[in-house]
């Protein structure tokens, strides 16, 4: 085999650093770069100063359909898809730019980026695998994430028709604070780290 191109490798390291800075978990880096696990671990520690958290990625699709996450995830995904139509570059490039645009908007709104980078990445995979679809809200005609194959003729989005207690509980506020520190570790049963069974 020929030696790996130095330029390619540098680009890979660059991509990994960018992803780590934006909050990617190790699994994302392993999937999206060709760097070895060992190198990625070292890189992660150098960039963040701590070891990456262990445990499984949040795998549940349900989280994306709860009220606030759905709005954030839909915003991100709309940006991602549209940017993909404009961009002619690599898929991960589009992903990172889309994620930055999403963060930018939450900053302007003074809201927390409920959708962490790892979750955004999982979301794209769920779409690629046909688990999700976008429905058009019959009131605002914005597009929102729904499970694939759900009837959407009378769909109304969570902003036009928020649930009555939406965003009002103390729990939500507490969750929001947790989310700020580790956006991927919100109160989601799918994200509970199970003890490893030997």
């Amino acid at each position: 085999m020929s030696e790996k191109s130095l330029v390619t490798e540098m680009q890979q390291v660059q991509l990994a650093i960018e992803l780590i800075e934006l909050g990617a978990r190790l699994q994302v880096l392993v999937s999206e770069t060709e760097l070895s696990r060992g190198r990625l671990l070292r890189l992660y520690k150098e960039v963040r100063g701590v070891s990456p958290s262990k445990g499984m990625l949040p795998y549940s699709t349900d989280w994306f359909l709860t009220w606030l996450p759905n709005i954030h995830a839909s915003l991100f995904y709309n940006i991602y898809r549209k940017l993909g139509e404009y961009a002619h570059g690599a898929r991960m490039d589009v992903f990172i730019h889309a994620y930055r645009l999403y963060i930018e908007q939450t900053m302007l709104d003074g809201s927390e980026p409920t959708l962490g980078l790892t979750r955004a990445w999982i979301l794209v995979r769920f779409f690629d695998n046909g688990l999700f679809d976008r429905a058009r809200c019959t009131q605002c005609s914005g597009r929102y994430i729904v499970h694939a194959h759900t009837p959407t003729r009378h769909y109304v989005c969570g902003i036009c028709h928020p649930p009555s207690r939406a965003g009002k509980t103390g729990k939500r506020r507490k969750t929001a604070r947790v989310t700020m520190n580790d956006p991927d570790a919100s109160a989601d049963p799918g994200n509970v780290r199970k003890p490893r069974v030997a």
């Binding site: 606030l68 709005i71 954030h72 839909s74 915003l75 709309n78 940006i79 898809r81 549209k82 940017l83 404009y86 961009a87 002619h88 570059g89 589009v94 730019h97 645009l101 908007q105 939450t106 302007l108 709104d109 003074g110 809201s111 009131q139 605002c140 005609s141 914005g142 597009r143 902003i159 036009c160 928020p162 939406a166 965003g167 939500r172 929001a176």
Partner: protein
């Protein structure tokens, strides 16, 4: 405000928009296209225009750009949004993200 001042303000707004559009396109083409909702050809022309050309284009009694919210329903929804802004990103941003580019 007299009528001439009004015309000047339109021209100023047009020029500011076109200059910023060009700068954004030179920085990152695709991201700028997303922000501006411009297709490839329109974006390329603005990107390669001189300041003189853009200034000439700006000097008109109409706006060179139009709203990205595509219907009264969308604009109405964006304005009717009474949710706590701390919690929810703007409705307008979500709707506009999906807007079809001008071509």
């Amino acid at each position: 405000m007299n009528h001439e001042e009004l015309l000047e303000e339109i021209e100023e707004t047009n020029r500011a928009y076109l200059m910023l559009a060009r700068r954004l396109l030179r920085e990152n083409h695709a991201v700028a296209q997303f922000r501006l909702k411009l297709d490839d050809e329109l974006a390329d022309i603005i990107k390669s225009s001189s300041t003189r050309e853009l200034s000439r284009l700006a000097r008109t009694n109409q706006f060179v750009f139009r709203p990205c919210l595509e219907s009264a329903a969308q604009l109405g929804s964006a304005l009717a949004d009474k949710r706590d802004p701390i919690q929810v990103p703007t409705h307008a941003s979500l709707m506009m993200a999906d807007a079809t580019p001008a071509s």
